[in-house]
Symmetry: C2
């Protein structure tokens, strides 16, 4: 491949909205080959002025919460209303157990055949930081390709929710109806990240869903909202029947209006970008450190001594830094 | 100062329980002088076998929650029962506004004159990481000096609660009675860090405190406990009258028994030590990176471009890492 040549044409086709070119560009971003990475950097830098225009929506939910069904239905509603919708995923586990959210496009059969939709499974393998970087750059490519709604889905393994919340404008938690003890299943920190909570599957038992929504609203009282201008709403909906998804979209737009008016949206994005830059710097610094032969040779022994309470952590850190030449 | 000489004598006096020697050793740990830091490292390494024996208790609470009053009363109760109690503090703000928790020992007049108590204000100035390192090492010195209860207090500025929770065996949140909307004042994430919640000032209005405790117990239902063997109890107490502090101590001992039996206590400490080692490595790596002249010269311009959406974060990170020679 001659990167310089391909990139010109790739850029033009991608900007024209060609989905095959978009897929190709995302593959470049995901590639570990050094020449691909250089080409991806060039492409991203050129496309930068065309990015940032989409409504970036993060969605999380435990397996069984109905994420695929809801995203499919919500995505179809949006494309029918004239939007161009991209669906990406962050699933740091996908490389390990082989299964992946969105790995099987047939899970979103209707949406995947819409001309104004683009569905991409999670980048596979690697640590969360790497998966997130690729997804974040894929999101920028989708924006450059003219998609005005980007949905980033995550199953919430490890810190993946935090990482997704830090790349979107609004972060939704999809929950299943339940009350009292059943609420215990909610992962720590999830509620605090969410800008909006959706109690899904409200079609099965509307009263149970309403009760559940009320419980969550009460529970939210113990948390200080991230913004004084936005208290996370708790909605009930059904991804299966589509009920409540219009209200969901109204709330997403209301969030955008409120947060644009008070400047929080632009600030959130600027902060995300700056944090992102430093996160990449730190990841690669730490990687260079840990893979330095002199450091790697010392780590097992020092870590064992520290864990066993035989060596102060500070003394071990000193030895490691000295081995790195600092 | 002749470090080699002083250290032998300092070590002996400290191990004998001499509070002046303990104070001197903590000052060494807090010092920024290179020779002091080397001496502190030597001292800590020698004392390592004598550390780890205390019950390490973290306490947080908003200003006005009654931390000082409660710690004073609780500490006096413990010394009267034959314990040796050290009280440390983590207050990353103390260098900035001049005021400091525990800065004024008269706030704990009774406890500070107990022969079996030692009170030390927060190390001043510097970033949270530095303040926390010094406090953590001060805790080890207190253990070597024979203190069997170490209480680490924090006001909860920034991430200080997380940092304190990560250096103790049990982390307590001290709360004031309130219900409904008043619960909103609770800082995000605090509830999730706490192993035990104490509704303080129960003497003023016992029923209100009980109602508040019930609200918190309900609110805790939405969170998965950190350990399947321990659901954080919510107690009511009064630091002023001392009521409920016996139950608090019983619960702290019960936590220790449960977590020792299931191995979680030793595991938590080993994990804390390993994380601590890596945190120190990362802090100093990042510091070396940011202060490298070639990097520092580039940062303002690149960060502005990234925040403004003109340059991809990845491209900026590349440029910075290249400037560092990676």
């Amino acid at each position: 491949m001659s990167p310089a040549l391909d990139i010109d044409s790739l850029e033009q086709r991608l900007v024209a909205g060609d989905r095959a070119a978009l897929a190709r560009a995302i593959t470049l971003v995901e590639s570990r080959r050094v020449d691909h990475q250089a080409a991806a950097r060039t492409l991203l830098s050129r496309l930068m002025p065309r990015t940032g225009r989409a409504q970036r929506i993060g969605i999380t939910g435990v397996p069984g919460a109905g994420k695929s069904t809801t995203i499919e239905r919500f995505g179809c509603d949006l494309t029918e209303a004239g939007h161009r919708v991209a669906v990406l995923a962050v699933d740091p586990s996908s490389g390990r157990h082989g299964g992946s959210i969105l790995g099987d496009k047939t899970r979103m059969e209707r949406l995947s055949v819409q001309p104004n939709a683009y569905i991409r499974p999670s980048p596979s393998g690697g640590a969360l930081g790497g998966v997130a970087r690729k997804t974040r750059e894929a999101m920028l490519l989708c924006e450059a390709a003219g998609f005005d709604v980007v949905i980033v889905e995550t199953v919430g393994v490890g810190q993946s929710e935090t990482v997704v919340a830090d790349m979107v404008d609004i972060f939704l938690a999809l929950l299943i109806p339940g009350g009292g003890d059943e609420l215990q299943g909610i992962k720590k920190g999830l509620i605090e990240l969410a800008d909006l909570l959706v109690i899904n599957k409200a079609d099965a038992d509307p009263q149970k869903a309403e009760r559940s929504a009320r419980d969550y609203r009460n529970a939210l009282h113990i948390l200080t909202p991230a913004s004084p201008d936005w208290t996370p709403p708790v909605l009930t909906a059904s991804g299966l029947t589509g009920q409540g998804l219009d209200v969901l979209w109204t709330q997403i737009r209301r969030h955008r209006e409120v947060m644009t008016a008070n400047g929080a949206r632009a600030g959130r994005r600027a902060d995300q970008d700056a944090r992102w830059m430093w996160a990449m710097v730190r990841d690669r610094l730490e990687d260079a450190f840990k893979t330095a032969p002199a450091v790697a040779a010392l780590v097992p022994e020092l870590e064992t001594a520290v864990r066993g309470g035989e060596l102060p952590a500070s003394a071990a850190a000193d030895q490691l830094l000295q081995a790195f030449g600092l």
